[in-house]
């Protein structure tokens, strides 16, 4: 099977979808002629023409607002926000409009849009190119939120998102675009061409929204992670020698609660990790659910490891990033508790 980077996989998902369905249109800042600052839409304008893939003004509210109008018309827009850090001008349209069209009109109008945005740190992007705003979406009823962690999933999940009848926020951990990254920034990145999850089937396929994947089976403890943090979890497990089960959530909402509960009931211990700031992060929701559903199986408090509750600093990026050492410490503490 051909191996692709995550960028190529994402590009492929849009390509496949545009080919199969004339209603799929792709637009955003610099996505047309140039193909996107991360190249995710490269070649699509040349292939499908300027009215199906085009550059927009620098206006996130306009991008999402017009996408909603197009979806109400009957198209299936898949739009790009250049960095998740720049979705805020569109937050009103996303949360008050896209999320509620179907509900408030009782199905008279629907909103099948996908809003792609690169997230996460690790590229020295500072406080405005590093954010992980997933919890700002999971709190909003009516949205679905997806975070792929590898090329194979990225393609299948993006195709599923485009085909989904409801609005989907598709968060792309940019630190994973070129290879799995475990937080050891001092080491060179292994490219996806060397990783089996870099295998991306050329044809149409989907990975269903709402299903988690077990990336490492283990019996001592369950780590709940998504995106970049999946690899940090794996590294921390290897480095501490703790037999952790690593669950890659893939979709945060709808959440695969069943898979989570099953694992924690088995291991009796749980560590929740993410890159976003800790307070009111999605990890809090995971902790709340795990303690609710697995209370009598828990042998230790559920630990959270997350970004500190500050903006993402530029120079101190690696003091901020919750890397394998910090996660490893939490694993050890949870085992000892």
């Amino acid at each position: 099977m051909p191996r692709k980077t995550m960028i190529e996989a994402i590009n492929d998902a849009m390509d496949v979808s545009m080919k199969r369905d004339e209603r799929v249109v792709v637009f955003g800042e610099d996505v047309g002629y140039f193909g996107g600052v991360f190249r995710c839409t490269a070649g699509l304008q040349a292939k499908y023409g300027r009215s199906r893939c085009f550059d927009t003004p620098v206006s996130e509210s306009g991008i999402v607002g017009t996408a909603i109008g197009m979806a109400a018309y009957g198209l299936r827009p898949c739009v790009e926000i250049q960095f998740a850090d720049y979705m805020y001008p569109a937050y009103d349209q996303l949360t008050q409009e896209a999320a509620r069209l179907r509900y408030r009109s009782n199905g008279d109008f629907t909103c099948p849009i996908v809003v792609r945005m690169p997230t996460g740190g690790g590229i020295f992007g500072g406080q405005t190119h590093s954010q992980s705003p997933e919890a700002l979406f999971t709190h909003v009823s009516g949205l679905k939120t997806v975070v792929p962690s590898n090329p194979a999933d990225a393609k299948g999940l993006l195709v599923a998102a485009i085909e989904d009848p409801d609005p989907v926020i598709f968060l792309e951990p940019k630190r994973l675009y070129n290879g799995p990254f475990d937080g050891h920034h001092e080491k060179p990145v292994i490219p996806w061409s060397k990783h089996e999850l870099g295998e991306v089937a050329p044809d149409h396929y989907t990975v269903p929204l709402g299903k988690a994947a077990v990336r490492r089976e283990g019996s001592a403890l369950t780590i709940l992670a998504y995106g970049t943090m999946v690899y940090v979890a794996l590294a921390a497990a290897e480095e501490t020698g703790i037999d952790a089960e690593v669950i890659d959530l893939r979709t945060l909402l709808p959440l695969d609660l069943e898979a989570i509960v099953e694992s924690v009931k088995k291991t009796g211990r749980c560590v929740v990790i993410h890159e976003a700031t800790m307070t009111s992060g999605f990890g809090a929701e995971l902790v709340a659910l795990v303690q609710e559903h697995c209370f009598y199986h828990l042998e230790a408090p559920i630990a959270r490891v997350a970004g500190w509750d500050t903006p993402y600093p530029h120079a101190q990026e690696w003091d901020y990033f919750p890397g394998p050492a910090r996660v490893g410490r939490a694993l050890a503490e949870t085992m000892e508790a």
Binding site: S61, G65, G69, D92, E97, R104, N106, F109, P165
Partner: protein
């Protein structure tokens, strides 16, 4: 402080904040003498493909058709037949009667909230008749005339207002935030201005699809200050979207007079000019003028000539909503002093001058319409009002949020025991 070789020449006078205020407040005598009203028939009617720059002055005038004598004059007089005009009059009268009944129903506790159109009926009623089936409006809460004039059943509107068991929106929406795709009426949002850019998106989608349908966005004078007004103009201008961008300037945004939103620009129409979008200002209380200008803009859109911005100059005669009491911020008699008159009376006079209408026919129509409204109301009330009788189910809280209910909502619905 940074040291700078140059020092201030002469120390300038202190700055002062300029805060616009309406000329009159409660207790003062209303005065619209500063509002310039061009004579009916005096504004030119350019071809639809005129260069926007060449028709700039249309953004600073007011296109008017009906003169004081009730005659239709000038190049915008249009070609509506007697029959069509009588129908238009009936639509406006229906909307007014509907409003009066629902306003009262709210006072009687049959619903939580209502918003009326008093004085602005011509805008939505006449514009709707300029559209084709399949075109899509993105309205605010103050364009129910789009539904009435398109034959949407009043009883369905009332069912929505009452949130009763037949409410098409299953109790989920605030009264008057209707939705009807079939009638070209996009689901109304409680968040101002969001629909304006969505209208542009819908229009772009129509263009992308090689369709012939066009969109119309609606917004109030106050709401033009919101960001999405800008997004709409930017995208409409760039992609030459087939959309009519309607600004209903009814002089007020709750308690805030239009001068706060408009600032230093002479008019709201002027905003369009900054984007190279042709902008027209029209007498919003003149059914014929609204219809003619609407037609012009719609034809432009359908001919792929791009967007048009239209400012309807009108006056919100009633309160903002049933939660509002305008006597706290504007003179009570201000609406009587409003120089563009009442849209219903003006069209009635015109039809009478044409010989197609009379006092008796008017009274008779009024009675008939009241009957229709009352019988719709009776029908709706059979199915419940907000606090009594049939009501939507508590299941409806959970349903219809996603096409397929996700597991967490299923669990919650179960917990709710519904």
């Amino acid at each position: 402080m940074a040291s700078d070789p140059k020092s201030k020449a002469a120390s300038p006078a202190p700055l002062r904040l300029h805060v616009p205020e309406p000329e009159v407040r409660p207790g003062d005598m209303p005065d619209f003498s500063k509002v310039e009203i061009p004579k009916a028939g005096s504004v030119e009617r350019p071809p639809i493909d005129a260069d926007p720059e060449s028709i700039r002055k249309l953004a600073f005038s007011i296109i008017r058709v009906l003169n004081r004598k009730g005659e239709a004059v000038g190049p915008w007089a249009g070609s509506l037949t007697d029959e069509e005009l009588v129908q238009g009059l009936r639509h406006m009268m229906t909307l007014r009667a509907f409003d009066a009944r629902m306003q009262m129903a709210q006072r009687q506790g049959k619903t939580s909230f209502y918003m009326q159109h008093l004085g602005e009926e011509a805008v939505s009623c006449a514009f709707r008749k300029a559209l084709e089936p399949g075109d899509m409006n993105f309205p605010t809460y103050r364009q129910a005339g789009l539904l009435i004039a398109n034959g949407y059943p009043m009883v369905d509107m009332m069912n929505q207002i009452y949130s009763n068991e037949l409410d098409p929106l299953h109790g989920r929406q605030l009264p008057v935030l209707y939705s009807s795709k079939e009638h070209g009426f996009f689901t109304v949002s409680g968040n101002l201005a969001t629909q304006f850019v969505q209208a542009v998106g819908w229009a772009m989608a129509s263009a992308i699809s090689g369709d012939t349908r066009i969109a119309a966005g609606w917004i109030g004078d106050g709401s033009t200050a919101e960001s999405d007004f800008h997004s709409a103009l930017v995208f409409a201008s760039t992609y030459k979207a087939p959309v009519v961008l309607n600004v209903v300037n009814n002089q007020w945004a709750i308690s805030t007079f239009q001068g706060i939103a408009r600032g230093g620009a002479g008019t709201f129409a002027a905003r369009g000019l900054g984007f190279g979008i042709p902008a027209l200002r029209v007498d919003g209380n003149d059914y014929l003028a609204v219809h003619a200008v609407g037609k012009w803009a719609i034809e432009r859109a359908r001919s792929n000539l791009g967007p048009t911005l239209v400012e309807y100059v009108t006056y919100r005669t009633g309160a903002h909503s049933t939660s509002d009491d305008p006597s706290a911020y504007r003179p009570k008699a201000e609406s009587d002093a409003w120089p563009l008159g009442d849209p219903v009376i003006r069209l009635k006079n015109h039809l009478t001058v044409r010989g197609a209408w009379s006092e008796e026919r008017h009274n008779q129509a009024e009675a008939e319409i009241l009957d229709e409204v009352i019988s719709a109301q009776k029908e709706a009330e059979k199915h419940g009002t907000l606090h009594t009788g049939g009501r939507p189910s508590a299941r409806d809280i959970f349903e219809g949020l996603y096409e397929e209910m996700p597991p967490h909502l299923r669990r919650q619905r179960q917990q709710a025991g519904v």
